[in-house]
Amino acid sequence: MTKWIRWSGLAGFLAVIGLIAALFILLLPFAIKSGIEFVGTKVAGAKVTVDDADVTLSPLGVRLERLQVADAREPMRNLVEFDEAVADLELAPLLVGKAISNELSVTNLQFHTQRATSGAIAKDPEEDAAGDAKPSLKEKASEALPSVDEVLAKETLKTPQAGEALKESWNIQSEQIDAALKKVPDSAALANYETEVKEITSGRLESVEDFRERKARLDALKKQFEKDRSAIRQARDAIQEGRSEVSDKLAQLRSAPGEDLAYLKDKYQLSGQGVSNLTGLLFGDDAANWAQEALYWYEKVQPYLESDEEDSTDIKDEKAPRLAGEFVHFPTDDPWPDFLIRTARLTGPFSGGQLVISGKDITHQQIVTGRPTVFTATGDSLERIGDLDARLTLNHTLGNSVDTLTLAVSDWAMAPLNLGVAGARLASSQVKLDAEAKVVRGELDAELDAKVSRAQFTGDGQTLFARELNAALKGINRFSVDAGVTGSLKSPDVTFGSDLDRQINSAITKRISAKQDEFEARLKSRLNSQVAEYAGDYADELQQLTEMEGSLDDKLNALKDLASQELEDFKAQQEREAREKLEAEKAAAEQKAKEEADARKQDLKNQAKDKLKSLF
């Protein structure tokens, strides 16, 4: 047997393993510090620093000294920092690259502390753009009573659209009409035609050649008349079409303000209901800030919470790299995800006392542990808060993707709150708060119920509205606010309800109504002035088009008359002249015979008179 064994090989093996272990222990603190700073900075979007990291061998564990996570939104502040964190590490999992700690203890945990140096890092410009795009809740709530200019600038209304359409239509049609009118003969041309026709058709035809020449000229003129008549008809059609279209557009423009006003009245609730958003207006920003803080943290954590669907997709989509394979996990009481803290206890100063946060089964691979990650927070000896209980459950175990937060705060002496509207300020109050939020597969559903007692409002607003509001608020010392948040995490819908609205409503409804009437009148006036501005002289232009159409009809009739003129045939002229000559001669002969007869008659009459005289 011993002939098969090479003892020197065993010594060499142990030497190599010992060397590797020594290097590992020596380099591990540096690796931990660098790893936390690198990954933390990437996740937080701002500098994460660790002053020192130590590895202890018995028991195996790690100790971090002063970790600071800068706030990406305010680089001169820390989101969170702590003085010391101590965690034990299990050896066996560590040998296969899995960091598993049974207990993590963090002391002097603090939020929103000042930094000595900026914690900003170079940012992705796309992230900046996305961040800037979100309007604040106050901006959204302020839509209840916007200014006329804001509405007209922000809304896509029909009036300016119809005005632009009219302008465009007029430009197109007038171009077409001008082009058609250029082909129409003017009055001088018509007078020339008349003279020419008269010249051709009047006067005696001297010969057959003369007749032919005149006929040819008249035929050429008639062809020109036909062309001109066609041009006039086309111009008349263009005018009719243009007039019809411009009339339609003008009618649309005139009806647009009515439609716009109806739309705006509906959207901006220009009625007594408009004031129902006052709670949102008063408390919206603060609620939004709290919600944003919560969502900020959630969004940082959320990508690392794997669900079964995501897992299966990853497996299907990604080809396993060389020599990686996949791990098949079996049921066990001691699962090994890549990272796990079985229990954590974090403590730090908060509101004059201590905030104690406990964590259980903290991992990004709940599909391996089969247990959700649970955080609970309680307050100890807090000055301004009676009781604080919060519980956050992140459940991404097999078949689940549900994150739940419950929060109960009682006897909370809330710090003075600037309400940001009309100079109003909630100087002091006692609050009981219950909140529950649930995120199921990216869809948020949250409810908050706050009961405020011993409320004292102050306010120094100088406008009539501010005075009315502050007067109403001063009479209120107890109210409740409930808020609901639903929809996707990226763009949740926030609704507020409160008996504060009812209380304020009765006090300032008249004032608000007057304001809204004034608003509506101003809106109407501005829309009408827009109509006048767009419509301009188009009505006169339309009248001119009608007159132009009449003038074209006259021209058409004149040309028709001219075209009907005919040149007499030369033979017919000869016959007519002979006939006229014969008739003239006949008339002359008849005249002569008549004169002779009359003369004879007169002679006979005279002779008879003479005979009678001789008788007597």
Partner: protein, 168 residues
């Protein structure tokens, strides 16, 4: 690398037991076909160093079988997945999984399991085949190889210097 090859040729051309060279070469299948950095391969390395087998042949074998392993990975993963998910073996794996030192062997990795099974199944056949080939090489090819002009040219090179150094 030249040193390693020289050592390997020394083993092949010398009178050292062909079984030692053949087994070392066959044993290299395990690290070659499975993920290199694992507890199993640490044990295999221990075996290769402690057992009186040819270590150069083992290292050479690791290089060769790692290359083959690239192509074999999909088959290893499929086989490993089948074995680890086999209902009749589930209890065995579950009980092994409870022991943390067994678990750090990464036996539950599909390529580790597949590659290990393939290596173990082929261990004896590859050992025997390698042994036969080494003997055939010594009896039939060695004299002929030595007569080759290329080998004679090689004998004038640095490689031959190294070879003779290790052969002494």
């Amino acid at each position: 690398m030249l040193t390693l090859l020289a050592r390997l040729f020394k083993a092949l051309n010398s009178d050292s037991a062909p079984g030692q060279v053949a087994f070392a070469f066959a044993l290299a299948m395990i690290p070659g076909f499975t993920p290199l950095f694992s507890l199993i391969n640490l044990l295999v390395l221990l075996l290769a160093m402690v057992l009186r087998i040819n270590f150069s042949a083992f290292i050479f074998g690791v290089a060769i079988f790692s290359l083959i392993g690239y192509g074999l990975d999909p088959a290893s993963a499929a086989l490993g997945e089948k074995i680890l998910n086999a209902p009749e073996l589930r209890d065995v794996w579950t009980s092994l999984y409870q022991n943390e030192w067994v678990r750090i062997s990464s036996f539950n990795n599909t390529i580790t399991m597949g590659g290990l099974v393939i290596s173990l199944v082929l261990l004896i056949p590859v050992t025997l085949l390698s042994r036969v080939l080494i003997l055939q090489y010594r009896h039939r090819l060695l004299a002929w190889v030595n007569r080759l002009k290329i080998v004679q040219a090689l004998k004038a090179s640095k490689f031959w210097y190294l070879y003779t150094t290790f052969a002494e």
